[in-house]
Assembly symmetry: none
Homo-oligomer: 238 residues x 2
DNA sequence: CATGCGAAAGTGGTCTGACCACTACACGCT
DNA sequence: AGCGTGTAGTGGTCAGACCACTTTCGCATG
């Protein structure tokens, strides 16, 4: 698919590439069933073990799905399928990498929020509004639900751009654990009100269908989190 | 590690979880070597085949790295390691999803190019310049090397932002196959000169260390490709 | 004594063929 | 016609063998 390097390539690797090629060429489409492992291994001239490892690879990548006793199928190949493995990043990231992740979000979220302001349907806005209410529900003590609502708030916004790929990537860059840290940190500093303001400002821009305002509001918000993290990391020794 | 669901779980899955746990518990750290496949399979009470599939899974996820004849090692667990799987997206995407991918690139690349204009080192700029020359090497007949140089050109730019996470995500959104289609399409329409202009404009902005110009040049470029794809998809039936 | 080379041990990679667990489907029974 | 039930076929697991490669160590050589 990508590197036709002259090096000797492993049997399994070649099998993976051939299956990928079958999908890329349209010989098998999303949702369709592949030949059996035994057939494929015979067809490719490899052992069933190697064939299985190739299938295992593509299963892990979210391209194939093996159903015990029924066969191997190509997934819908939706971005969400292929980016599922992606979500570990935000979870395992620490320190500098976390800053890098936020920097990427600072590039994506303003643009995405602006797009959402232009494209969101009425139902989308209702959903976003409901999550905003849920976030503000409690008094001054952010609980687990606040964090979840926060996560959902941003995800709902990005989802309402209608770009599933964008949504999947954004979700991979967000994590519940990190959000919880942000809220905890802001509560200690008595700054949860600032976060609420940010969210309200974003929501208002969306409802007003004002992309520029939405972009600005999102930028302010991500920047606030980024600076907090910066300070937090510096404080506890980078 | 995550889901202790009551369902019967496959042998291989359990093996995957046990290795993950070994890493999470710190029993093996980044860069360290695991016991041999034979030892692990004996220790976990599974066959070597299943053990191999478990290792294959974690290798695919970028957590482990198998060196033929030498052993299995834990990777450095850097973002680039974990996001390698990401590249499948661009490889297997078609039609609408491809448009979505480009839309995400339109958000990332201008920002990344602007950042690169501010941050790139002299060596970074040399590397980018060399790739630009290589891209323009041939006369009017873009060959495989042109496509490769194109890919490298953009990757080098993003890499020179110093944000490895950003670079890894960007690389995942690019693909040799897609780039080849773009060049082929533009050659048919006699528009390869436009692509060259775009690249030169971007390079100039970087050398001039002008973030605004860089952002604009990158936007123009991605937009051109996006519009071409739009037309191409419409032409050959969505 | 230092050095280079080659044999050997140990590792991941591949193959074979068998059996198990599960699903789907068609057949026969009610 | 409806419903179990058996059976063929699928992916999942196992065992043991051999191949390809890397590393290491001892031996011969300078």
């Amino acid at each position: 698919m990508s590197d036709p390097d002259g090096e000797r390539t492993s049997v399994t690797r070649r099998a993976v590439d051939r299956i990928k090629a079958m999908i890329a060429d349209g010989r098998v489409g999303p949702g369709e069933r592949l030949p059996t492992e035994r057939d494929l291994s015979a067809q490719f001239g490899v052992s069933r073990s190697s064939m299985r490892e190739a299938i295992r690879t593509l299963t892990t990548l979210g391209v194939l799905e093996a159903r015990h006793g029924a066969g191997v199928y190509v997934t819908a190949l939706r971005p969400a399928d292929l980016l599922e493995t992606f979500s570990v990043l935000a979870e395992v990231s620490q320190g500098r990498t976390l800053l890098e992740v936020l920097q990427v979000r600072r590039m994506l979220e303003p643009a995405a929020t602006a797009l959402a302001a232009a494209r969101a349907s009425a139902e989308d806005l209702d959903r976003v509004g409901a999550l905003l209410d849920r976030m503000e529900g409690g008094p001054d003590t952010p609980c687990a639900d606040t964090v979840t609502a926060d996560l959902g708030f941003h995800q709902a916004i990005v989802a309402s751009t209608g770009n599933a790929t964008l949504a999947a990537i954004h979700d991979g860059l967000s994590s519940h654990t990190f959000n919880a840290r942000v809220w905890a940190g802001h509560r200690e500093a008595g700054l949860t009100a600032k976060l609420r303001e940010d969210h309200e400002r974003i929501h208002e821009a969306l409802v007003a269908r004002d992309p520029d305002a939405a972009r600005a509001a999102a930028t302010v918000h991500v920047l606030r989190v980024e600076r907090w993290l910066s300070a937090d990391l510096a404080g506890s020794g980078d």
